[in-house]
């Protein structure tokens, strides 16, 4: 138990500290690297509460894919970041407002648990009885069996958003020469090479 508590404080403290570093680091690449550290520590926290599937998915999706693209973009950007930071304070009210709303919502949720302890019972009711099933199995049961239609429609919404983004940014440029793989594969030696006997001293 002591070791678990120690691990919790280690992960939690590192997560919060790296979260602070994300917004305070001068170099944007460092910010992204700290963001990755924060993701990693959150995954550690997930493992501690026994949600190992979520922990691994967090690392695979956020650290392995999303953060790589972040890093990619931030490295390629050629922006003077000290100039960008000049207007930092001007966004402070909006940031503070979002923070306050989030805090209020969290207080509402946790407050309701304190006021009526049976609320957690209702929350955990849809999952399979604890023990005997791994949480991967329990999640699969919930997402792909009990709530399959809701899950699939959420997926459709994402698909539509993705196709929308592609449609908005795709431009067909006629002036670009494109590679046609099928033409290249179909190309035969007989079509393009001709062997001729040339007498010495004359042209083709």
């Amino acid at each position: 138990m002591i070791i678990q508590a120690l691990a919790f404080y280690l992960f939690a403290a590192t997560a919060v500290a790296s979260g602070v570093m994300v917004i305070s680091a001068r170099n944007p690449v460092h910010s992204v690297l700290f963001l990755i550290l924060a993701f990693f520590n959150s995954a550690g926290l997930f493992v501690l509460i026994g949600a190992e599937f979520l922990a691994m998915i967090l690392v695979v999706v956020y650290v392995g894919a999303v953060a790589v693209l972040f890093l990619f973009v931030v490295m390629m950007l050629d922006i003077n970041f000290t100039e960008l930071r000049e207007g930092f304070l001007q966004y402070l009210p909006i940031g503070a407002l979002i923070g306050i709303i989030l805090a209020a919502e969290l207080i509402l949720v946790f407050g309701s648990w304190v006021v009526s302890p049976e609320a957690t019972q209702i929350l955990t009711a849809p999952t399979l009885p604890a023990g005997g099933v791994t949480n991967t199995h329990a999640l699969g049961q919930l997402i792909y069996t009990d709530y399959i239609y809701l899950f699939q429609s959420a997926g459709l919404v994402l698909l539509v958003a993705m196709i929308g983004a592609i449609v908005l940014t795709l431009r067909h440029r006629p002036d670009v020469r494109r590679q046609k793989i099928s033409d290249q594969v179909e190309r035969r030696r007989e079509d393009v090479i001709e062997i001729r006997d040339i007498t010495t001293g004359s042209g083709v």
Binding site: E52, A65, T134, H137
Partner: protein, 339 residues
């Protein structure tokens, strides 16, 4: 005091001993893999390979290690020091921590976790950070180009690796690596899932940045790419990390498709051979394939690499997921359902 020893100190010590028993042989394997590569490719090209240091050149890896350790570590002036030094360490550490969940024989595994495959997938998807950090921190053209190529390449091939893993999972019904091996008691998965086996092996080549997909270090145009600015031990860590990753990916292939520690046929005489020996033999065979491919094939062009990843492997593996799932539902071959 006695309480403290039995409750905390001894378990910690025991874990450390187990880790050493895994990591030390692994490092020796990695060292001799570099030797094997030079020897195998040498023989394939009708050369001798290393043959001067020790009998048959067997002490060559140690000579190389000594040389690299005694050299000077140069940090370029424009480099970002912390990130520059962190990158090789990260590459090497990530190649090592994957082994925490690999079962080398029945019950011989450091940590037999429920989500073993996902853990391996997560760790192998992190490998890109070592390279991308090295490329950026070097603050130099060629390393940066190498890092960008490598990031795009590794992210692309991860997608099809993910789908291949899902096919195997559908056939097993568990994310635990030991369960995956035991599910292959009757038939190794490379027979029913043969196309996925091929996709996985090729993606493993791309994921470890090995020939014919070694574009991140393409010496002809990028003068070895992301590790140009590295010297001495920092360079050696990249090198060892790459080879350790090869061993890890071979181990993954063996567990997912080649029956892990199981003997090829379930007969007594083969069962007497310890599982570790079978596992080591299969991993060696896979590593030989890695070296063989390098000696045989020329490097891919970059656009062909991307086309292969996104337009060939992705639809193929996705289609095979659907096919496998369909076959399981139609024929009722639900594996190990616990309802």
């Amino acid at each position: 005091m006695v309480d403290f020893w039995w409750n905390y100190a001894w378990p910690t010590l025991w874990i450390v001993i187990q880790i050493l028993f895994l990591v030390v042989p692994l490092l020796i394997v990695v060292a001799y893999l570099t030797y094997a590569e030079r020897k195998v490719i040498g023989l394939m090209q009708l050369r001798m390979g290393p043959n001067v240091v020790g009998p048959f050149g067997l002490l060559q890896p140690f000579a190389d290690a000594l040389k690299l350790m005694t050299k000077e570590l140069i940090i370029p002036t424009g480099a970002n020091r912390v990130v520059f030094l962190m990158a090789p360490m990260l590459t090497f550490i990530l190649a090592m921590v994957g082994w925490a969940v690999i079962p080398v024989s029945e019950g011989w595994v450091l940590s037999n976790i429920n989500v073993g495959v996902l853990y391996l997938f997560a760790i192998s998807s992190l490998g890109v950070y070592g390279i991308i950090m090295a490329g950026w921190a070097s603050n130099s053209k060629y390393p940066f180009l190498g890092a960008l190529r490598s990031a795009a390449q590794m992210v692309s091939y991860e997608v099809s690796i993910g789908f291949v893993i899902i096919t195997v999972l559908l056939a097993v019904g568990s994310l635990n690596l030991s369960d995956i091996v035991l599910a292959q008691k009757n038939v190794w998965f490379f027979i029913p899932l043969f196309p996925m086996f091929i996709v996985f092996v090729i993606s493993a080549l791309a994921e470890t940045n090995r020939a014919p997909f070694d574009l991140p270090e393409a010496e002809a145009e990028l003068v070895t790419g992301y590790n140009v600015e590295y010297s001495a031990m920092a360079f050696a860590l990249f090198f060892l990390g790459e080879y350790a990753n090869m061993v890890l990916m071979s181990g993954m292939t063996v567990i997912l498709f080649l029956g892990g520690w199981l003997p090829p046929f379930d007969i007594a005489i083969l069962n007497w051979v310890p599982g570790l020996v079978w596992f080591a033999l299969k991993v060696s065979a896979m590593l030989f394939v890695f070296l063989w491919v390098r000696a045989t094939l020329p490097r891919y062009r970059y656009d062909q690499l991307m086309r292969l990843g996104w337009k060939v492997f992705l639809p193929l593996s996705l289609g095979w997921v659907v096919l496998t799932a369909g076959a399981i539902v139609v024929f009722g071959w639900y594996p190990g359902i616990v309802n």
